[in-house]
Every structure is written in C-alpha cells, then in structure tokens.
Symmetry: C2
Subunit: 347 residues, 2 copies
C-alpha cells in the first residue's frame, strides 16, 4: 500500500488519467462536474483520484482559466491580545474589501512561526502585500521583500525601512504614570505583560522613567484577565502600601480590578488603576485608560496597502507614497483613577 509514499509529488491529472485508463480531458471533466461523462467512467476516475489522494492544483487551474489576478495581502498578527487585534482587523477587513483586495490572516504564534510564514510567502509569492502587526522583521527580510516587489507596512511597531503606523508608547507610559501620581498616588506599581510585545516594554519604560526603577512590578505571562488578577494579587501581597497600579493592557487591568475589589479596596478611591488601549467594552467597565486609535490602525493598513498595490501610471509621477505616522494617544479618565487635571477627557 506504500506504492511510493517516499516524496511522492502531488499526483496530477495525468496520473489520474493513466490510472483510470482515460484521457486527461475526461479527468478534467469529472473534476469540474461536467454532465457529459459516462457514469462508469466517472466512477473509475473518482476512484483513481481517491486512491492517489489527488488534489487539483489551484495555481494551474487559475492559470488555465485565466481569472482576474486579484491582489492579496497577508496580515500577520500575534494573537496574544485577542480583543486588541479583533478591534483592528474589522476596519482592516472592511477597508481591504472596499479596495477589492483579499485578506489572508496569519495568527502568528511566535518568532519561529513568523519566519516560517514569511519564508513561505517569499518562496511561493503567496501575496502581493504584507501587513505586520506589532512585530518587526530583520532588515534582510525587508530587503528581500523589496527586491521581489512585495510591499510591507507595519502597524504598532516602528519597523524601519517600511511605512509604519505607531503611537508613542513610552510617552503613553509616562502619561499614565504621571496621571496616577497627580491623582495622589504615593506608591505606584506596574503590571506588565509578555516581553515579546514591544508596546508593553515601552509602556514599562515610560513608567520607570517617572516612577523609578525600583518601583514594584509584576509580569503577567499572558494577556488574560486571570493573569492580571494573579499579578495584582502578588503585587498587593508584597507591597501592601501600593495605592496605584499601571497595567500595560486593559485586559490585565480588568484582572487587577477584580483582585482589588476582592480585597474590598475601592478602585479610584483608595487605589487607582489604569490600563491601555481602550478596548471594546472597557468604557462600560469604567476603567481609566490610555486610548489607542485601534480603528485607525486597521483602516490605515488597508488604505496604505491599497495605495502601494496601485502602482503604475500614477507612480511614474513620483506620486507621494505612504508615509510613516505616529498617532496621538489620549488619556481617558473614568472611574478607576482620580481626575485632577480638569483637562483630561471624561467619557
């Protein structure tokens, strides 16, 4: 039964035809559900297809049929913080559809997986454009992609060499920390997240700049409510005098909120808590946060890709291409911190 299981290339319609004792045209006919095939023949062909585990080659089919060559962009997202990427992918998807571009989603698990995916994209020319979310790649990769003409844009990561849309996360960390202190905090702690996320590291950096390197901190290994809760518990156990918590993500902050309440402490009163992003439903929960324009992240990526993919006549005139941007962030004061500035937005 292991006829040639060793590196057997995918069988083609020629193999099927031979095995079924028919011509390739007939194979093609049953493949496409044509009526004009004798039942017996059809069955023979189908049997051969099954026995050989035949899968038609999509590329060959499309080439033969000659359909439109619709552009396709690959979006690589690390799903470690689900709701964030959800909020981003909706406008991305919508924007791409408007430009008649297909979206292939890659839920990147880790660095190694990222490289595998990129290797494949390069080797197979699997797409016409790439959007990198919250991740960078080595310069050589950018060069390689540039050479074969696959444009890349980057969101939430300051990748050099390609258009990138970012926010100033270090400044965001500073703003959050200062807000806590202005609100009367005398002992502020940090709950940070997976180190793979540059945004987290930078928010952490801004925090430390203001609050000092010896400030209490705890790292959640995953971006989940439970991890945030546990981190808060640990922090509160070790440092009972803590009266403010900066959490590098809303989700972690929600967990911290639960931990704090479980100890009968009152968020916004005897302990302040602030998160980042302003993810969906966070407003309902009443968490103070540093808002990121997540919609704009997705929309910008879609617009940029549409622009970059529309080379041609326009580009001859050196039409301005896509520029990197740094979007403003916004302190949103809700009920878990004290609003002392009077100027911060309340919502």
């Amino acid at each position: 039964m292991y006829e040639s299981a060793f590196m057997a290339p995918n069988p083609t319609i020629y193999d099927i035809a031979k095995r079924a004792g028919v011509g390739i045209a007939t194979v093609s006919r049953v493949l496409n559900g044509s009526e004009r095939v004798a039942d017996a023949t059809r069955e023979a062909v189908q049997r051969a297809m099954q026995e050989l585990d035949f899968r038609p080659n999509r590329a060959a089919r499309r080439l033969a049929v000659g359909g439109v060559n619709r552009p396709r962009v690959a979006a690589l997202m690390p799903f470690f913080s689900a709701s964030f990427y959800y909020a981003v992918s909706a406008p991305l998807s919508a924007g791409l559809i408007a430009a008649d571009i297909d979206l292939v989603l890659y839920n990147i698990q880790d660095r190694e997986h990222k490289n595998r995916v990129l290797d494949r994209i390069v080797a197979e020319r699997a797409c016409e454009g790439i959007v990198l979310f919250s991740m960078g790649v080595r310069d050589e990769r950018i060069a390689e992609l540039g050479r074969i003409g696959i444009p890349v844009v980057c969101v939430d990561y300051p990748q050099i060499g390609v258009p990138a849309l970012t926010v100033d996360n270090i400044e965001a960390g500073r703003i959050a920390t200062r807000h806590l202190i202005k609100g009367g905090a005398r002992h502020v702690g940090l709950i940070t997240g997976p180190t793979v996320a540059l945004a987290f590291r930078q928010r952490e950096e801004g925090f430390i700049e203001i609050s000092g390197a010896k400030s209490p901190q705890e790292r959640a290994e995953t971006v989940t409510i439970e991890a945030g809760r546990q981190a808060a518990i640990n922090l509160l156990d070790q440092f009972p005098t803590l009266d403010a918590l900066m959490c590098v993500s809303d989700i972690l902050a929600v967990g911290a909120l639960q931990a704090v309440r479980a100890r009968n402490r009152i968020p916004g009163d005897d302990i302040q808590i602030i998160g980042f992003d302003d993810q969906p439903l966070i407003d309902v929960i009443g968490l103070s946060t540093i808002r990121q324009p997540m919609d704009e992240f997705g929309a910008w990526a879609a617009r940029s890709m549409a622009t970059l993919l529309k080379r041609g006549k326009e580009q001859i005139n050196n039409t301005p291409t896509v520029e990197s941007q740094v979007l403003p962030i916004e302190l949103v004061v809700r009920s878990t911190t004290r609003d002392t500035s009077g100027s911060a937005k309340k919502r």
Copy 2:
C-alpha cells in the same frame, strides 16, 4: 495616453519584454530581484512595467515554481456583531494553522456581497473549502460547490446539505424568557436585532412563544451598545411598567443596561436584563446571559475543514465524515437577573 485602455488584459512579461526591448528572462530576473542584470536594463524594464501597470500573475508564478499546493479555506462572516466573530475567529485561525491550512477572511457585508464572493470563489477556484458563519446559501449553490468538490461547513446556521454546527436558539430564547419570568417579571419586553441574523429571529421566536406575541418589542438596526441603549429608551418610554428586558445579543443588553441605569432603575432588582452569547468581558460587566460555546464554533470549523480536506485513502473505507451537531447552550445568571432556580450556574 489611452493606448488600449479598452478591456486591456493584464500585460504579461512578454509585453514588458517587447516594450523594454529585452527577453522575457530578463524581465523575470528584475521581477525576482536578481543581481545579474545591468542597471540600465533593469531601469528600462522597470519603466516598462510601470508604464504598462504590470502585475505579475501569482498563479503562473506558483505554477512555474511548483511550490506546495497548501489548502486554503475561505471563511465568510457577517461582521455585524464584531466581538462575536472575533471570539470565533481566534480558535478557527489557530486550528487551521495547526492543520497547515491558510485562512482567507471575507467580511461579508450583505447578501449581494455574499453571492459575489461565492461566485468568484467558484469561478476562480479560489479555495479548497468554505466555512459559512451565520449564513446560509441556496441549495443550488451547495450543489454547485459539491460538483466541483469544494466542501462547505456551516456554523451558527442550520444549512441543509452540509455539516452544520448550531445551537438551539429558539430554545435559548425560551430559556431566557422563562428565567426572567421565574425571577418575578410580570411585564417583559424584547430588544431584538437585525433581521438578517437567523439567530436573532429565532431567539425572538422563543421569546414570543413564552411571552406572547403582543409583548413589547423594539428592533435595533445595528448590534451596537448605542443601538441597544436607544431601543431600551424607546421601550421604557412606551411601556413604563416593563420589569424585564430580553436582548438578543450581549452588546444590545449592555446598551439596555446603560439606559436602565440612566433612569435610576436597578438592574437585577427592579428590572431584569438578559443577553445572549456571553461574549468576552461580559462576565466582568455582570450581565446575565445565555452562553454559546463560541470557542467551539471556531474550533469545530477548523477541525471539520481539516477532516474534509484530508480526503484520500482514508475516505475509501467510508470513514465517517463530519456530522452536524447541535451544541448545548447554558444559562449564566449574574447580577442583572434574579436567580430563583438555585440550579442555574453562577459565574
């Protein structure tokens, strides 16, 4: 400048070669970033490519290169209820990656768009499998897809003729309504959503079965907090004696919650509110709801596709293929309804 703008087919490397006065191999070389091309030649070719707005044909390239024919599945989702599909697409994406299957996401806007997408998929053989979320298609479509060998599975919609994973939304509507009544409700109202969603219509049906057709109801045209809030306001204005609200989606329920609070009524006390789905963060908000196993929706779709795409030797033995399933739903009592049964799960 309008050389042949009329139905000009996409230019090929032959066109470029001719225009640049070189051979096609050279065009291919600059296309692939080969070093071994004279700068002058390269520039000439690039100019020609721009002038003709050339885009390499992906299918042809892949065919020539002969890479693996990685299976690709298209997921069609109506994004009218973002967080729900987000919650579903994470496990879907993860499961597909594990099976080494690419995921192409189609954010379907309306029925017409759905048909356009499916037409294209059929015409271009754009994928090896299709996952339909919360939407059905006509029988002829199923037949057509079956004929050309593209398997289809359906999630959150009882499409006949293909494996489907659903929950009993009518029963869910009954359960929610009964729960409200058991909690002491004497006058219960309904906030429903866009009629395009069968799940909403069915929950509505279950509601009416228990509560009667003349029960007050309001329809939100979009699944947003704001729409839910507005619907609740309308309902409360018209029917001041309402003491319970069933909302066909958590998001609408959150809006209703806000409307109720704005009137200084106390959810779970003088007015009950229940939603559906148990979307992310809804537990934190404390909303009672009917939980759907959204994770399982995505995971099942991924598993099913992996199975269906792995035809071949196994299938010869008539190995049981994918079966339709109806998953259980679960009443989750939190703070916005009164728990009278004592048996309902509290979380």
